[in-house]
Amino acid sequence: MAYIKKVSAKLIFALPLFFSSLIFSEKSDYNMPVGVTDVSESIFELHMVIFWICVVIGIIVFSIMFWSLWKYRKSKGAVAADFDDNFWLEIGWTVAATLVLVWMAVPSTQVMVEAYDDAEGEINILITGHQWKWHYEYLEDEVGFFSNLSTSQEQIDGEVPKGEFYLQEVDEPLVIPTNTRVRFLITGNDVIHSWWVPDFAVKQDAIPGFINTAWTNVPEPGIFRGACTELCGIKHAFMPVVVRAVEREEFDAFIAEKVALAEEERMLTSKVWTKDELMERGESFYAVNCAACHQANGQGIPPVFPALEGSQIALNDSSKHIEILMEGVQGSAMAAFGDSYSEVDIASVITYTRQAWSNGENGDGEIVTPQDIVAYKNRIDL
């Protein structure tokens, strides 16, 4: 039965594919990529089948139309007939159109069933869309990282020549093993994003509060580039997806390294931090993650982004300060940083903003340590 299905699908595909292979090469600047997975190949074939059916119908309809326009032009003395309906003709083409659509629906349904499969993967990766970067977390090993655009602002502004992978490169790509069923659990942290890798034919919306699933199984190593495809704000075009597929051993080594790094981070949390160490770390974290809205000088852009210099919370209320960093502010653009960054980062940026500008002189200048953040988390868990 499955065999018959396969053969009939092949037959449906064969003829149009033959033509399409004449016209479109594999990696094309003007057609859908064939991609590297079984699913992406099936989708490509399906796309070409539907395309050629449309072309054939188009040729038939347009040739009749243009031939009529030519043949029955008045300047050549054409005299109009006066029929205005034909019952059987109308029934005929309605039925024909319906049959063609059924012909399209059959392989479409087959490919859809093939692509749609939410069983667990051997490797499960939680993908979270943030404004404007992706976060990847390997659920089995509990390690994760952010993936940011690495194209420089100078390239974007045209001050230096653009590189080969302009806007398609990141500081840290997602790494997945080849020949393994990888399942993606996709969600959003703030607004809706959409995670797309054309070569896998995977596109899933990253929606806050929901977890969507998608999967792939990549047969060969390579680097695959994709994009965010749901409008997510100012830097929608600047949060690309890059996936590196590697052999299993290399993947295991990569994970082992990540696990070791995470262990180091945890050590940092329990170590005793001096104020200066926290300040230094906090300042660079602030520059990367906070300054876009609250500005490097702490003045913010009122009324939307409040000033931190002189803010009562930053001066005298360290517990509220921690809560805001951890939970975000409902109904505003202030995100919850707690789930995405380490205790050390959160503590150091809080310490930094309590000391920086004039805040250190005018407020209590309290130092918040990673242990305080751990304590906060434990309290919440209770």
């Binding site: 600047d29 309906d85 034909n86 083409w93 596109k203």
Partner: protein, 528 residues
């Protein structure tokens, strides 16, 4: 006493003078003219925004505008073209033509008609003014998905919501007027199945509008509550559902796209039969096709949401229902071709635009069919392929329908023939530039360029430069159209009542003088 006499005078001896003619008019032709000029002006405003978009996209890199402003341009371009150009232009045509086509003196509810129009400049005045506010105008796309348009929106979103409400009221009032007119004011003998197809298309469109504009009003009201009153309809953190927004929006949105094409179906049917000198083929199947498109349009909305994570059964249902719409749509195309078949065809400007409509709208239908195929849509969705699709159905579709209608009826409205040579020039420049602009979008989309991007990877550069050139050419060409319209209003060969050879028995409008009397039919004609 004297006022009574005066209003009596105005009622029977033509329009008032000066500005008050336009402010207080209750005349269907004056209001139709207002609608048409309004949409023409909005075409240039929305078009200027498109020029900004294409100038930025001419090359990779950010050179002319920053992403924040770019997003405001794409958003307002879409909103203005949909709600400010296509819809008001069709209402303007309805105002002018429905009473003349059904043998009535005016619309049934003339004061309501005045209100429907004057709400529009107010709505768009508010919308456009947000662009000059410190936080900038709406920047979340014309589909304004939550939570980008709620929690993360600039506070000017409140003005946007208000302006959508006002537009909605205008559309609903207009639709009530149209339905009332069609049901109550037809000439004796004009049964439903004898109504001109443009009248049919508007009757169906008006019902669609009454059904879905309240849904749009509902969804923006939910946004308003989320933003200002602490509800959580679309806010996941408060237990709400961002996807609910999309379901409600597209339940409005898909019928909306048919609202933007059905009247064009009606117009093109009239033009093709006129210049083929042969009655429309399959009149009743044309009516049934429009009715089934309208009904089906309520059960296909989630084809815009194939990637939000629906269950398999849902994906398949919306794929099949969407494919089903292709049947009545195909029937219409076949009927137009069959009308031309064995006709006696001439190629005046309205006919050229209508032929281009049939060919290019069909291309848009094909890409629509491809988009309906769920697994393939995973690759197409939110790329330029979708942009190509909807511009093919909306520009050489809806907009060509409107332009064709303008050429077709302008001699009737003004009493002057337009300049045929300039008209043909306008057609060819438009036809070429529209394809140079929108055809390559299919290719960049398939190759992977997402939509709503102010900047893009290098492999898309060549096509984008070409697209921008086409777009500038298209934009400039429409200035020629403006010139032709003004020239026709001011002068031109005197038009006969039937205007087009043999049009005399095609519809009641051609039995009136050109230009027609201020109160179209003061005595109802008898339809055999």
């Amino acid at each position: 006493m004297s006022t009574v006499v005066e209003s009596h005078d105005h009622g029977h001896h033509g329009p008032a003078k000066g500005l008050s003619r336009w402010l207080f008019t209750t005349n269907h032709k004056d209001i139709g003219t207002l609608y048409l000029w309004f949409s023409f002006i909005m075409l240039f405003i929305g078009g200027a925004m498109a020029m900004v978009i294409r100038a930025e996209l001419f090359q990779p890199g950010l050179q002319i505008v920053q992403p924040e402003f770019f997003n405001q341009m794409t958003t307002n371009h879409g909103l203005i073209m949909v709600f400010g150009v296509i819809m008001p232009a069709f209402v303007g045509l309805a105002n002018w033509m429905l009473p003349m086509q059904i043998g009535a003196p005016d619309m049934a509810l003339p004061r309501l008609n005045n209100l429907s129009f004057w709400l529009l400049p107010m709505a768009f005045g508010i919308l456009i003014s947000t662009l000059f506010m410190p936080e900038g105008g709406p920047n979340f796309g014309w589909t304004f998905y939550a939570p980008l348009s709620t929690t993360y929106a600039p506070s000017t979103v409140n003005f946007f919501i208000f302006s959508v409400h006002v537009m909605g009221v205008s559309s609903i009032l207009g639709s009530i007027n149209i339905i009332t007119t069609i049901f109550n004011m037809r000439a004796p003998g004009m049964t439903l199945m004898k109504m001109p197809l443009f009248v049919w298309s508007w009757l169906i469109t008006a019902y669609l509008l009454i059904a879905v504009m309240p849904v749009l009003a509902g969804v923006v009201t939910m946004m308003l509550m989320d933003i200002n009153f602490g509800t959580s309809f679309f806010n996941a953190a408060g237990g709400g559902d961002p996807v609910l927004f999309q379901h409600v929006f597209w339940f409005f949105g898909h019928p909306e796209v048919y609202i933007m094409i059905l009247p064009a179906f009606g117009i093109v049917s009239h033009i093709i039969e006129t210049f083929s000198r042969k009655p429309i083929f399959g009149y009743s199947s044309m009516v049934y096709a429009m009715a089934s498109i309208a009904i089906l349009s309520f059960v296909v909305w989630a084809h815009h949401m194939f990637t939000v994570g629906m269950p398999l059964a849902g994906e398949l249902f919306f794929m099949y229902s969407t494919m089903l719409i292709a049947i009545p749509t195909g029937v219409k195309v076949f009927n137009w071709v069959a009308t031309m078949f064995r006709g006696s065809i001439t190629f005046e400007t309205p006919m050229l635009f209508s032929i281009a409509f049939v060919a290019l709208f069909t291309i848009g239908g094909f890409s629509g069919l491809m988009l309906a195929i769920v697994p393939a849509d995973f690759q197409y969705h939110d790329t330029y392929f979708v942009v190509a699709h909807f511009h093919y159905v909306l520009v050489p579709g809806a907009l060509f329908g409107i332009i064709a209608a303008a050429y077709y009826w302008l001699p009737k409205w003004t009493g002057n023939m337009y300049d045929e040579t300039l008209g043909k020039l306008h057609f060819w420049l438009t036809f070429i530039s529209v394809n140079v602009t929108f055809f390559p979008m299919h290719f960049v989309g398939l190759a992977g360029m997402p939509r709503r991007y102010p900047d893009y990877a290098l492999q898309f550069a060549d096509f984008n430069a070409l697209i921008s050139v086409g777009a500038f050419m298209f934009g400039l060409t429409q200035l020629l159209f403006l010139f032709i319209v003004i020239k026709t209003i001011r002068s031109g060969k005197q038009a006969k009542p039937e205007v087009w050879e043999g049009a005399g028995d095609l519809g009641l409008e051609w039995t009136l003088s050109s230009p027609p009397p201020y109160h179209s039919f003061t005595v109802q004609p008898q339809v055999k």
